[in-house]
């Protein structure tokens, strides 16, 4: 089994889904001949032809909107938005249509579509190429929101997203596209869309994160381990719906929790997780839940982004504070 990168795992899952189910259609800007600006759709044109993989005109709103139409007709469109900085024009279609077509029609029409988009910073990209807007989608009833943090999870979660009967926003951390590598078996097995993943077991505290920040979080766990602190690392993976039980199981055990994400702290998914834990696990909490996240500033351009992105050191410091708390 070869080691592949996260973007290759995406490619593998797309190819698998298209081979298994001819209603799966890939569309987006530059996805066909170009194979996607990150090569996520490379080779699909040759293999599946121009009726299964379509270059769309430059119109994100319509890409989302026509996917709703395709999905209502029984296709399973997997649309790519080239960067999450350009996903905002698709929000209207996601909120007002994709997420509610089923309930509006009491199940007569449904919307099994996936909107994929590379997200997050740390790749020294120009403005609008480094955003983490998952919280905006996680608030929308009727959507599922998924962010993988490793090639194997990318593969299994994307397959699950494509097979899911409802719309899924699938955000792929750009920073991990090539950096994350592991063996992935192309066995067509999906991962559950409603479970978090314990990536590292520990007993002193729980570090919760998702997406690219899993790297810094695991690094922080290493730093802490060197100090004799045993940190459990939980990858949320599916930020909507949240696996509250999974989180409670870990935090119930450790009693301390640091939540890490790249998006601005205010209104981020970390707030929701902290609120749920404070609601359900107040007795088990031995220390305040800390959030280590992006600041409430606009994502800066590359020359300042390292001051913006949470670092392993910041995470470890928060963990130490949580542990020091009496």
């Amino acid at each position: 089994m070869p080691e592949i990168s996260l973007v290759q795992a995406i490619n593998l899952a797309l190819a698998r889904a298209m081979a298994d189910d001819e209603t799966v259609i890939v569309l987006g800007e530059d996805v066909a001949a170009e194979g996607g600006v990150f090569r996520a759709t490379e080779g699909l044109l040759d293999r599946f032809g121009p009726e299964r993989i379509l270059d769309a005109p430059l119109a994100e709103g319509a890409i989302a909107g026509l996917s709703v139409g395709l999905a209502a007709q029984g296709f399973r469109p997997v649309a790519e938005i080239q960067f999450t900085g350009f996903i905002y024009p698709a929000i209207d279609q996601l909120v007002n249509h994709a997420s509610r077509l089923r309930t509006r029609t009491r199940g007569r029409l449904t919307c099994p579509m996936v909107l994929r988009s590379p997200c997050g910073g740390g790749i020294r990209a120009i403005e609008h190429h480094s955003e983490s807007p998952e919280a905006m989608f996680a608030h929308v009833p009727g959507l599922r929101v998924v962010i993988p943090s490793s090639p194997a999870r990318a593969y299994g979660l994307l397959l699950a997203a494509i097979r899911d009967p409802d719309p899924v926003v699938f955000l792929e951390p750009t920073r991990l596209y090539r950096a994350a590598r592991e063996e992935v078996e192309d066995d067509g097995a999906a991962l559950p869309l409603d479970r978090c993943f314990v990536l590292r077991e520990g007993s002193d505290l729980t570090l919760v994160s998702w997406g690219a920040m899993i790297r810094e979080t695991l690094e922080a766990a290493e730093l802490l381990a060197a100090e004799g602190i045993s940190a459990e690392v939980v990858d949320i993976a599916t930020v909507k719906p949240l696996d509250t039980e999974g989180l409670l199981a870990s935090v119930g055990k450790t009693g301390r929790c640091v939540i890490v994400h790249e998006a601005p702290v205010t209104g981020g998914v970390g707030g929701e997780i902290a609120a749920r834990l404070a609601e359900r696990a107040l007795v088990s909490l031995l220390a305040p839940i800390e959030r280590v996240a992006g600041w409430d500033t606009v994502m800066p351009s590359p020359r300042l982004e390292r001051y913006y992105l949470p670092s392993a050191a910041r995470i470890a410091a928060a963990a130490r504070r949580a542990l020091a708390y009496q």
Binding site: P57, G65, L66, A72, Q73, G74, R106, G107, R108, P141
Partner: protein, 377 residues
């Protein structure tokens, strides 16, 4: 560039040196069609379907049904038994012309002023009352199951039509997506994006602008500087045309022609149906705030039902008893529907949970339990 136009007021010949531009690289024109004048007189040879009295009577019935439905809906709203309702008074020919030209297995994507088309296609008046009464079950049509529900956010369903048409094209089916929207909708980016893609992909789609000249309080001349709305198609690289939208014969003919073209692989068409909103925007609106009676009243002479009735009386010996029979039949149909609507069992609160996802997430299942507990109290 505008080189010639029928309406003198709109001609704005510029004198800014453009004359020395050497090459004309493209010319476009917009045509307008009509078969029956406001008096119901044919202004040229009618299309074949018009030779069939039953067909013409059906068009007439479709419009009468739409207007009766409208009147009942307004009455229900006025008496507190229906939500805000947008009457299509005066625009019945647009909706009926569209639906009459379509095949059953074509897909209709309406805005909120095409109940005449929905009724023709088998959506029941009870379903429509339910929808406007604030009940999602009204969009779970028993017939026309692939048709889209009424779309409230203006213009946002037009991209859906592109997706439906793409699905049809990819499956090589002999069907067409038909999408209706208002004059105001033509200002929305969604519409421009959708038309452009439909053109680029040469999709089997027919787009109909239900131009009732107003978007709530904004007249079409304030909505755009475009001389016609049909020319929005020029930006998308396909044909646009104007039709007298108060002439149901012209509407049906133009839509049929566009459908045939789409089925033959000729791609999309944009039809601008020129009609007029004789009533308020909705039951929540008071149009006298922004337009005068003198602006409205001339348009009554153009309205489609009287026009077709005059034709039927003149050319098809439509009698008083034909008329009364129809009115009675339609009135009792609508009355029965209203009664059925009023006694329709209330929706179950759990429905809001059960249709949010196919697979109920665990946290939502918990909320469902809590909500049903609260509802039971």
């Amino acid at each position: 560039m505008l080189v010639e136009k029928s309406d003198d007021k709109l001609i704005a010949a510029t004198a800014d040196g453009r004359a020395d531009l050497p090459a004309v690289v493209a010319k476009f024109e917009i045509r307008r069609s009509r078969f029956l004048d406001p008096a119901g007189k044919p202004v040229r040879a009618l299309p074949d379907f018009a030779r069939d009295r039953a067909e013409m009577a059906a068009l007439y019935r479709g419009m009468v049904l739409a207007r009766s439905f409208d009147a009942k809906a307004v009455a229900l709203q006025r008496t507190g038994r229906l939500g805000t309702f947008p009457s299509a008074l005066g625009q019945e020919a647009v909706a009926v012309g569209i639906a009459a030209a379509m095949r059953r297995d074509d897909v209709l994507l309406p805005s909120f002023r095409e109940h005449g088309a929905q009724l023709w296609r088998g959506v029941t008046p009870v379903e429509l009352f339910l929808f406007w009464g604030g009940d999602e079950r009204g969009s779970n049509f028993a017939q026309a199951r692939e048709d889209f529900p009424i779309c409230v956010p203006v213009g946002t369903h037009v991209p859906h039509a592109v997706g439906v048409a793409l699905a049809i094209k990819l499956r090589r089916e002999d069907r067409v997506a038909v999408c209706a929207f208002g004059d105001g909708a033509t200002s929305k980016g969604d519409v421009a994006e959708a038309l452009n893609i439909a053109g680029a992909w040469k999709l089997p789609a027919v787009f109909v602008i239900n131009n009732n000249r107003w978007a709530i309080s904004v007249p079409v001349a304030q909505q755009t500087a475009a001389e016609t709305l049909a020319q929005k198609a020029i930006a998308a690289g396909f044909d646009g045309e104007q039709v007298d939208g108060n002439d149901v014969v012209a509407m049906r003919e133009a839509v049929a022609r566009a459908l045939a073209k789409a089925r033959a692989g000729g791609g999309p068409t944009l039809i601008e149906a020129l009609s007029y909103r004789l009533g308020d925007h909705t039951t929540a609106d008071d149009a006298s705030r922004y337009r005068s009676d003198s602006e409205v009243s001339p348009h009554w002479a153009e309205e489609p039902i009287g026009r077709l009735r005059r034709y039927l009386v003149e050319e098809e010996s439509w009698t008083k008893s034909d008329e009364e029979g129809l009115i009675d039949e339609v009135a009792s149909l609508i009355d029965r529907a209203a009664e059925a609507y009023l006694v329709f069992p209330p929706p179950a609160p759990e429905a809001m949970f059960d249709f949010t996802y196919e697979i109920l997430p665990r946290d939502l299942a918990e909320q469902r339990r809590e909500a049903l507990g609260a509802a039971a109290e």
